[in-house]
């Protein structure tokens, strides 16, 4: 954390909201992006990012400089999204809800992702077939480019667990991509069974 950020943090801890806003401004976009990939739609992503920032503000006193501020913010955003997804898992979405929320990733594509190739759109669709935890680790590593160490801090898991989860998530995503025929695979190949 640089001196300027430390100064801002000090002011924020003293109750200076504008200092906090300045402090989080550089992380806003990444937090929103993470929420977007997790929640699949703009409205929910916006709500989750906002919730995460409010939680961070309200609980700023719990940040003791043991990690970087951005890692702490990310951790809150990740937990906020996972919590929300878990709550929703137990609720059946009604048709009304669906039409209200209707601003899905598909719409997002048509509005803002015109330049994105069809293949990339498809890979987003494939990602949405993954479980929340699997998608999270793929987004953090492969989309946003965090290191194993950073991911380990964000999701609070040992490095070994990050590796194994990532390996499993990639394997699953690859299987989905193959099933969706996103990448050409020689269909005549014989799947060699291990010599046991």
């Amino acid at each position: 954390m640089c001196n300027k950020d430390k100064e801002l943090l000090k002011k924020a801890l003293a109750g200076d909201l504008s200092a906090f806003e300045e402090l989080v401004s550089s992380n806003e976009k990444r937090i929103y992006n993470l929420c977007f990939y997790m929640m699949k739609n703009q409205q929910d992503a916006q709500d989750m990012a906002q919730d995460a920032l409010i939680k961070a503000w309200k609980n700023l006193k719990k940040f003791h400089l043991k990690s970087t501020f951005s890692t702490w913010l990310y951790r809150i955003a990740v937990n906020t999204c996972l919590d929300e997804l878990r709550k929703r898992k137990n609720k059946t979405l009604s048709v009304e809800n669906l039409s209200e929320k209707g601003h899905t990733i598909q719409d997002e594509k048509s509005k803002n992702f015109d330049e994105v190739s069809a293949l990339r759109q498809d890979i987003q669709t494939a990602m949405n077939c993954l479980a929340s935890n699997e998608k999270l680790i793929i987004v953090l590593k492969d989309v946003q480019g965090y290191s194993y160490e950073e991911i380990s801090l964000i999701i609070n898991c040992p490095l070994g667990t990050v590796r194994s989860r990532l390996s499993r998530a990639r394997k699953k995503l690859a299987a989905i991509c193959i099933r969706m025929e996103l990448y050409p695979v020689n269909t005549r190949q014989t799947i060699r069974k291990e010599a046991k």
């Binding site: 920032l53 003791h64 803002n112 291990e194 046991k196």
Partner: protein, 287 residues
């Protein structure tokens, strides 16, 4: 190197966590094996596409919305909290702990995770993020080995029944055993150890076993079953492999008495390829 190991390592080979020797072995295998070569190409293309995904732009007015939301939160009067003295807090906590422990001791042995609903509930309870966890600051100074040590503590030690399998032959060495499946006879129940990494393989392994039970009489019998369901809950709380277990066990709900999940950490891919095979196991006790 065989295809199974190679495909596992391919998923991580661009992350620079695999040493040169292993990398050479993978590349050598890829050159010879069409299936792994295709798989490698898929993983590579997938990672390139993922890294080039366009970042969604911030919605219009996002910053203002956040600003006003923060302002509202700032102006909200703080919730009144009841201030208790330290002694009262400690006394209350102790009383709660005693009640919880007594309840747990009396209830846990009777718990049977037979119904889907119970399993679902147990999973959700385990996964729920507490307020403390939500804002808990990641400890940067905690080394990975220390972290893993906490996960491999006594609470996660394999129950005696499973540890006994260490002395037996591995699944791969045993004839007639489905892939990634070890069975140990214990009276009326059979413990099946499945590599939880591959649902389809594990599912077919269970299916194969239930439909065509093999003679396990010559195998080493485990000393005892897991001591209590507390072990099971502890394992479930820690590892996400329970989701895989759910998927497998749901297919055999009439046959399964109970099941639990263990997860063996590997911390150094570079040194031990074989450990990759031990990534996750589901222990299923058949009725």
């Amino acid at each position: 190197m065989n295809c199974f190991k190679c495909k596992k390592l391919i998923t991580l080979m661009h992350d620079e966590c695999i040493n040169d020797k292993t990398l050479q072995a993978i590349l050598c295998h890829i050159n010879e094996c069409e299936s792994c070569s295709n798989y490698y190409e898929v993983i590579k293309s997938m990672q390139v596409d993922l890294s080039s995904l366009q970042e969604p732009p911030l919605p219009d007015g996002f910053h203002n919305k956040v600003h006003f939301a923060l302002k509202r939160a700032h102006e909200e009067p703080p919730k009144k909290s009841i201030h208790l003295s330290k002694r009262v807090k400690i006394a209350a906590l102790s009383a709660c702990s005693i009640v919880l422990v007594v309840s747990a001791i009396s209830i846990l042995p009777n718990i049977r995770m037979n119904s889907d609903a119970t399993r679902e509930m147990a999973y959700d309870v385990c996964e729920e993020i507490t307020e403390d966890e939500m804002y808990e600051e990641p400890m940067m100074q905690l080394s990975d080995s220390e972290n893993e040590e906490s996960l491999t503590g006594a609470a996660l030690e394999m129950p005696a029944a499973i540890s006994a399998s260490d002395n037996t032959k591995t699944a791969n060495e045993r004839e007639g055993t489905p892939n990634s499946c070890i069975s140990l006879s214990n009276g009326n129940s059979i413990v099946i150890v499945i590599d939880a990494e591959d649902i389809s393989e594990a599912t077919s392994a269970v299916s194969e076993y239930i439909l065509n039970p093999i003679d396990t009489s010559a195998w080493v019998l485990p000393e005892a079953e897991p001591e209590s369901y507390t072990d099971i809950r502890t394992l479930l709380e820690v590892y996400d492999a329970v989701a895989l277990a759910d998927s497998i066990v749901l297919n055999f709900v009439d046959f399964v008495d109970y099941y639990y999940v263990s997860y063996i950490e590997y911390d150094d891919i570079e040194d031990d390829l074989d450990t990759l095979q031990n990534m996750g196991y589901v222990y299923i006790v058949i009725k």
